[in-house]
Each structure stands twice: as structure tokens, then as C-alpha cells.
Symmetry: C2
Subunit: 542 residues, 2 copies
């Protein structure tokens, strides 16, 4: 991944009409001057590693010569994740602290040996997969102790596949594409496609309790894991590998989401699905967000489960049009727009719903037809918008880099709430975002979509943009983030639906979980990590 | 409920041909003499309550005059659950210990006040719902301290229904029929129908991590709970009420299944479904259990989710025929049997699969058709066997009482395992059951069904019968239970799929969860119940 932004060098989100897009954006946010960033990693100041030569010898005895690095590049590229504040700091060359060494274990035994050594010597241990955390999950926080970051990407093997039970045992450091390629060659898929899919790892998905874009059919990661193994400073914990059980509180559901603070996930048994034989795409246009949300709700409550459900509000739909449409419309598209206007709809002022169904053809066809009947007030637009979204779905984050080059603050917030609470949550978070942004910038752009739908509620995902306050980028962001998070909690939203807690959401945990819920996390932390060496400062204060 | 058996007085399982059934059974188990039981509760010896008058005054101040009982009947009927060993002891009038008082709180405040008083005075507190535990979950174990059993059935109100989110907030003491009646009048169902449905309570289902007969569509209880409130000796714990979250380890999934050892569940928010508009029944006959299991597996892995999946092995199918069929077959039935034999199948030597689909008509029809295509090697028998099972499904446990009247040891075991492990698990548990039974009795009957199917595995449910060893009924049972449980764990089965742990499965917890999993439960216990007053002796040793 690029050290200063998202994804692979050379890859980018192609704006169809860049000039038109930037004009459109400046109309909303004010003038957007280009800003510079440090030219290379070598320009970023970095303290020397706080590890002695004998320390490094000990580590190399455990993980081999190539298994330990104190290179500036290795350390700096694992110093931060990929949140907006991470990228601001990286671009400014202001990396507050980096790991003292990066260790690349090849198996569970090496992970255990390194954790044991760290416990003996009083070092901190941080697990690192794809490094795509947007909540500060992998950042070493100021701490007097030396920090080892364990990069788990060498632990990327599919250990076994059970083709009868449709499960696989996999090492935690495998990336999304590697995992899906291995599974695909055997006729399977996991069905987990988070936005970070191309870079993030199985262990990261589990540690953060993530969700993929197809979660409406396949569930969140916590439903996909049969069992896992975690190396803790105490010993290796393994949960029973059974499809379901009634044997007390769920140890598995306490290790999932633990964000590295109890130990490091070394491997997991995951549930697989046959590669879907058939896929159906549908798109609908609604006059407003809430009527679209009502249609999604009706579909979920009737037992229909598309893989992808994504309803963009009018602001997001209009932005999508600006991003994707050429300045001069084809005759077909112009005719389409004219037809829409004739029916009282406009791509600039409507809510776009896309649905993608997959599985056995007969089941998909029945579900798709039944879903179609429930889109009351929605106009069927055919399959094209859904297909376009599918094609571009991993490209969207690249746009953030171009926005940041042009002094745009751009970040996302996500939550989930009961259907009954969604309308107010939607309007209040939008309002608070706009208001708090306007305290710091001339204009605001707030886009929202609903995704990850459930029978009892759904996730809301907000993207907000403003002109950066030069020199105060982090403070500006914090003010907006605080206000929006308070609004989410005030209106019954989850503190996070799939990004996790890390250190950016940590201060709200006591409010969100209450004193007993907070004590519960602290108690578990004490059980497995009494010395407090595992990813300290994340998830909870101890 | 009858104090000496299952269910309501007067209700029973009608044998169509009792004489034929008993002859058939005696051919297998040996002669089955009638055995007597104590005539009435008044014949059962009971120690006086270990509570002083001032103690009772304090309790009555909290819960009212009618809210506290030290009657022998009240105490004895809450001294045991409904396992085979419970009924053996009850029938013999040998109740080892009963609660000293039964308390009937009306709301969460009263529960909290009673727990606080108990903590002050050093009393034990046991929650009691329907009292249908078959794992010793509600039995006061020998303990020097006075014991209060909190009967929660006055806490039986539906507090609110959110018709937008399809959720309801309900007090924990509501029974299955009361809950479903309340929901039905509003057009909803929870979809949770355990065998104990007519008597058990919402709180009991959650505390034991139960499953209902329709779990293949609706999930186990842990998927049905959005959030809950639990009164602990420390304070009330409440989990966030959101459809999904990524906020660390799941507190909710640690309270579900806690079997009263942390505190008492006072209320829960549960997910509802619209009352299904349409139902489809199907039955198939397979030449053997494993070919039926393969068909169920194919269906689950193709994404088809009937509400009920129940595959009886040849022994269970044949027993069902003896129980249900009249001695003289109707012309239609005789013709049917002749046709089956002509196709190489026989109701006495085949595996019967019943499927019940429910939901929206179009979706049900598509799923039912697709399922039909996957029943390779199965002969479609029409809907009648499935309809008959549905009609009688809550009557089966009544038969146990008649069997015990005729000196039959009859108990059930349940587990769940990955598909890959099921064939061996099935054959080994059956073999171990037969072998261990034959050490104690002339013959054995072992019936098995597969139910609660998942994409990665299924539950197996074993019913075993033998002639009782008079005077050694409990020892005989323990020998068989121990052997079968070891076989289950040896072959990768869950220690329990839906009965729970209680004190009958407790001794296997260290083996099943491992040292760290066991320590995890002990650590949570310490957090909420340092004095160890909540349902001691259940789930784990501390």
C-alpha cells in the first residue's frame, strides 16, 4: 500500500469529468487549493529503535534473520492505519511514534515465542494485518516501553478445507484476495467483502468484528467464524469447533472483536459457501431516503436476503452522478433522465437503491421478484447502476487521496440502529455534521447510505467533506467527530457497526457499554494480559 | 405441571394400540413390571426452612405477603427440574434439598431488592422459570446456606412492541404460550418452540442458550435477543439495543447462556417475525440415516432454510410407526406400505425426513421446490407425516411418564457437530449407549434424530431406553450418561446444543472448554458474583 494514502501505487479512481467535479465540489465547499505532502518516507523524522543488539538477536533467534526488521520504512509503514487523521499526519511527516521493530512470524509457535519474550522483557506487542484500521487500531500510543509490531502477513496459509462441512482452517494473516482465490479454486467463497478487502486480513476482520458489503446475506464476520485460536500472554486459547452449542457464555464471541488487547488470533475455522451460481442485479429510484428505507425494511421483514443492499440518500446519489456521468449525456441516458423527470424523479434529488442477489438461480429469482413487489414508491431502473457499483466498489477509497491533495477533509462515520430510530438518527447526525463542519469551514457535504440491513434495523454510513483548516487539520476533525459521535449515541446508534473501537472511539466505551460493560472488558483483559502488553490503549482504558 | 412428571394433569400421549406397543417394547427391553411412586407431595420428607421469622418479614416487606412462600408444596415443586434423574428421585420421594423459601418478584426492582438482601444475609439465590431444566439447572445443591428460589412467572408482561423494528421488550418470566399469544394478537411470532414450549419461559430460554424446533429458519435464542437486562449482586447490567455492532467482545453473548450464575435476567428485547402467511409440509423416506443426512446437508449448503428439519433414523422411524399406527391398517395405508416395499423401502427400516417451510408464499414455494430436487435417494411421502408430527409435537414428553410407570429408564442426549464428523459420532454414540445399557439391563432401545441443521453441521438427538435397575436407578443412569458424554466429546460433538450445562454436564466443562475457557467463566463469575450466591454449583466449579 502507498504509505501516504490508500491502496496500490498507480491505481486510482478515474473521474469521468475532473474539471466539472472540482467545480461542483468548490461550489459546495469553497475554493480548494492544492496542498503539498512530504515527498518520501525518508523525510519523516523517526526515533531510533529502543531495542538493544542483544534484544534483536533474541528476536532473530525466534523468527529468523528476515523475520525481524528495524528499517525506517518497515517501522513507519506500520506506525499508523488509514484513517483520515492517520493520513493527515503521514502527509505532514508527523508520525508521533512508530514500532521499535517489526516482526514477521511464520506460525503460531513464533507468535507465542515472541509474546513470551515480550512479556519477559516488558515490551508492548501490536498485531498488524493489512494495516487498514480507520480507528487507530494499530498505532503504537505513547508508552515508555519498546513496541514490537507483529506483521502477520507471512501467516497466510489455508491449512485445510473440509468439503463436507464447508469449512476451512486458515491462518489469520491471509489477505482477502489470497483467501478468496484459494477458496474459489475449490468452489467456495467466504462471502466477506469489506471496503478494505484487497488489503485487509482474516485476523483483522475477526479482531475488529467487521462486516463486508455482502453481509445482508452472509452475515458479519462473527457469524462466519466457527472457532479460533488466540495466542495470549497466558497461553493459547482455542474454542470448540462446533456449529452451535449451549455451553455457557460464548468464549468465541469474547475473542471476536478483541482488537488485539487479549492476544493475537493465529488461526480460525470459517464457514464457506458454494461460489454463487447465479447473480441478479436491480436498482430503484425513490423520491427520498426514508421511502427507500421503508422498502428495504419491508424486504428484510418479509425474509428476503439480498447479498448487497445499498440505499444512497439524495446527496450521495447526486454526488455519484457527478462522479460517474460524462458532461455530455448519451442519447440513451438523456432520454432516461427525461423519462425520470416526467415521473417526478431526478437523479440529482432522489435516493438510489441497489440490490444484488446471489445463490441458486430458483431461489434468487423468487427473492428478486418478491423484493420487486415490495419497492413501493420506487421506480425500477434496471440492473445497470448495481452493476456499475459492483465494478467500482473497491476503487472508491482511492478518491480520498485526490481529495486530500486538494485540501479536503474527508472522513466516514458508521453506526447501526433499530428501524424505528433510523429516521431521527439520520437527520440528526446529518444536521450535527453540517453544523459542526460550518464552525470550521465555509461549506459542508454530507452523504449517507444505508447498508448491512437486518430485520430489526440497518447500518447508516456517513461520508462528510469540508475544506481543511490548514495547520489545524486534526483539531478540526476531532471537533466534528466528537459532535457526530455524541449524536449517534444520543439517538440509539451503535458506537460502531463494523469499523471497531481502536483508540479513536475508546473514550465513548464507558458511555456506550455502561459501567458493568466496561468492567467486563477490563476483567477479561486482566485474565489474559495482566502485564498489559497487548495493544495497549485500544478498546478500553484499564 | 405435575410434580412427578411432565406437563399438565390429565394430558397424555395417546398410544393408538397400547397392548401392541408394550409387547413390542418388552420384546426389546425385557419384561417391564409396573413400579409404584409416592402417592403425594405430602409423603415427601422435607427439612423445615432455614429462615427465621424476621428473615421472612424482611422478604415480605420486599415482595408482599403473597410474594413469599415456605409451603412444602411450593418448595418441593421447585426443588428439582424435569430430567430423568429428577423424576426418579421425585417418584421415590427422595428430594435431597429444597429451597427454604420461594419468592415471587413482580418486577426488576423486587428482584434487585431480594438479591441485595440475600447478599447481605449470605443466602443463595436460584432463578426459576418453567422449571423444565433437564440438566439440573434449578436444583439447590447441598450448601450450608439458606436458599431462595425466585420464581419469575409473575414477571410475565409484554412491556412494549416496536412495530417498525419488529422487536418487543418483554419481562423474562413470560411462558411460551403467553408470549406467543401476545405476539400473535399483534401479527408477530418469535419463532422459538422448544419441546418445553408450553411451560418454559423466555428467561429460561436465554439463560440456557436454548433452541426451538424451528431453529433452522429462526436461529437459536442467542440470535433472537437484541439486548437484555440482568440483575446481578453488583448492579443491573444492560446491553446496547442495536441490530449489530463492532464494539469489542460481546457482553450480550456472555450473559446469554449464563444459567443464573451471574445474575437474573429481568427483561429482554427480542426480534419478531410476521406470523407466517404460508406453510408447506413435506416428508421423504430414505433407505438409511446417512443418505437422509446427506440430503439435509445439500439443502442447507444450497442456502435453503426450512423452519423444521427432522430426520429420524430407522430405529426412531420404526418406533414412531409402532406408536402411531393402528394394528389394522386402512386400505390406503396398507396400499401405501405395499408401494414402499415395492420400491425397496420399509417404514420399519428406513429414515423419515420431515420438512416444514414457512413464510411468504412465493419464497416458500421456491425453497420447497429447490429442496425437493436435492432429496436424492429419498422418496417423497407427501405432507402427512410432517403434519402429524406438527400436531403431536408437544405431546411426546408425556410418554416418558407412562414409560417410567413401567420401570423404563428413558432419557435423551443432544449434541451438535460438523457434517464431516456426524457419521462417526452417530455410530459411536449409539454403540456406546447400547453397550453401556447392556451392562445394566437385558436390552436397549436407542433412537436418533437429526434436527437444527446448519450449513456446517447439525444437532443429533438421542433417546435411549432400558429396563430400570430397581434401587439403583440413578447409578445406572449415570454410568450410561458418562459413557455417552465421553463418546460425544471424543468425536467432536458439542457438550450440549440446547439443553445447557446445569450441574449434570458441569464436570465436562474443563475438558470441553479447556483451561483458558474454564478460567474465562470463573473470571466472569467473580466479576458479578464475588460472594458466590447466584445459583452455585451450576455451569462451572469456582
Amino acid at each position: 500500500m502507498k504509505w501516504w494514502g490508500w491502496g496500490a501505487e498507480g491505481e486510482r479512481y478515474e473521474l469521468s469529468e475532473p474539471k466539472r467535479f472540482w467545480m461542483w465540489l468548490e461550489e459546495r465547499l469553497g475554493t480548494l487549493p492544492r496542498v503539498s505532502r512530504v515527498a518520501s518516507l525518508a523525510d519523516i523524522p523517526l526515533d531510533p529503535p529502543r531495542l538493544s543488539s542483544p534484544d534483536l538477536v533474541s528476536l532473530r533467534e525466534l523468527c529468523g534473520e528476515r523475520g525481524v526488521s528495524v528499517d525506517a520504512e518497515a517501522r513507519l509503514t506500520r506506525a499508523l492505519g488509514k484513517s483520515y487523521v492517520d493520513l493527515v499526519r503521514m502527509r505532514h511527516g508527523a508520525v508521533p511514534s512508530a514500532p521499535d521493530a517489526v516482526v514477521f512470524p511464520e506460525d503460531e509457535e513464533q507468535v507465542a515465542a515472541v509474546i513470551n519474550l515480550a512479556a519477559d522483557r516488558g515490551w508492548v506487542v501490536i498485531p498488524f494485518g493489512g494495516g487498514t484500521s480507520v480507528v487507530g487500531g494499530v498505532e503504537p500510543l505513547p508508552d515508555g516501553r519498546p513496541v514490537l509490531t507483529l506483521d502477520l502477513r507471512r501467516m497466510n496459509r489455508l491449512l485445510s478445507v473440509d468439503v463436507t462441512s464447508n469449512t476451512a482452517r486458515v491462518q489469520s494473516g491471509i489477505s482477502g484476495p489470497d483467501l478468496e482465490a484459494e477458496l474459489d479454486s475449490r468452489g467456495f467463497t467466504l462471502g466477506h467483502f469489506p471496503q478494505s478487502f484487497q488489503f485487509s486480513t482474516l485476523g483483522g476482520w475477526i479482531a475488529t468484528r467487521g462486516a463486508g458489503q455482502n453481509s445482508t446475506k452472509y452475515g458479519k464476520i462473527e457469524q462466519m467464524v466457527v472457532s479460533l485460536r488466540m495466542v495470549t500472554p497466558r497461553e493459547v486459547v482455542e474454542t470448540p469447533a462446533v456449529p452451535a452449542e449451549a455451553a455457557g457464555p460464548s468464549l468465541l464471541q469474547c475473542l471476536i472483536g478483541s482488537e488485539g488487547i487479549f492476544g493475537i488470533i493465529s488461526e480460525a475455522v470459517i464457514r464457506l459457501h458454494p461460489v454463487p451460481r447465479y447473480r441478479a442485479f436491480a436498482s430503484y429510484l425513490f423520491p427520498d431516503f426514508l421511502s427507500g428505507a421503508a422498502a428495504v425494511r419491508a424486504m428484510m421483514q418479509a425474509g428476503i436476503r439480498p447479498a448487497v443492499v445499498r440505499l444512497s440518500d439524495p446527496e450521495e446519489t447526486a454526488t455519484g452522478v457527478v462522479l460517474r456521468s460524462p458532461a455530455r449525456l448519451s442519447f440513451r441516458d438523456a432520454l432516461g433522465r427525461w423519462c425520470l423527470r416526467w415521473r417526478g424523479l431526478d437523479l440529482d434529488r432522489s435516493a438510489l437503491l441497489i440490490l444484488i442477489f446471489e445463490g441458486e438461480r430458483a431461489l434468487v429469482t423468487a427473492a428478486r421478484r418478491q423484493a420487486d413487489r415490495l419497492q413501493r414508491g420506487g421506480l425500477h431502473l434496471g440492473s445497470r447502476p448495481a452493476r456499475l457499483w459492483m465494478r467500482d466498489r473497491f476503487l472508491h477509497p482511492y478518491l480520498r487521496d485526490e481529495l486530500m491533495d486538494r485540501s479536503v477533509l474527508v472522513d466516514t462515520l458508521e453506526t447501526a440502529a433499530a428501524w424505528e430510530r433510523l429516521p431521527k438518527l439520520y437527520s440528526q447526525v446529518r444536521q450535527v455534521l453540517s453544523e459542526s463542519i460550518r464552525k470550521t469551514a465555509p461549506g459542508a457535504l454530507v452523504l449517507t447510505h444505508l447498508s448491512h440491513a437486518y430485520q430489526d434495523g440497518a447500518s447508516l454510513y456517513f461520508t462528510f467533506m469540508a475544506r481543511q483548516q490548514q495547520g489545524q487539520e486534526v483539531e478540526q476533525w476531532q471537533l466534528i467527530k466528537d459532535a457526530a459521535t455524541e449524536a449517534i449515541l444520543d439517538h440509539g446508534g451503535a458506537l460502531s457497526h463494523h469499523h471497531g473501537i481502536g483508540h479513536l472511539h475508546k473514550s465513548w466505551i464507558p458511555r456506550y457499554l455502561g459501567p458493568q460493560g466496561t468492567a467486563f472488558l477490563q476483567q477479561l483483559k486482566r485474565q489474559w494480559d495482566q502485564q498489559h502488553i497487548m495493544n495497549p490503549g485500544k478498546l478500553i482504558d484499564v
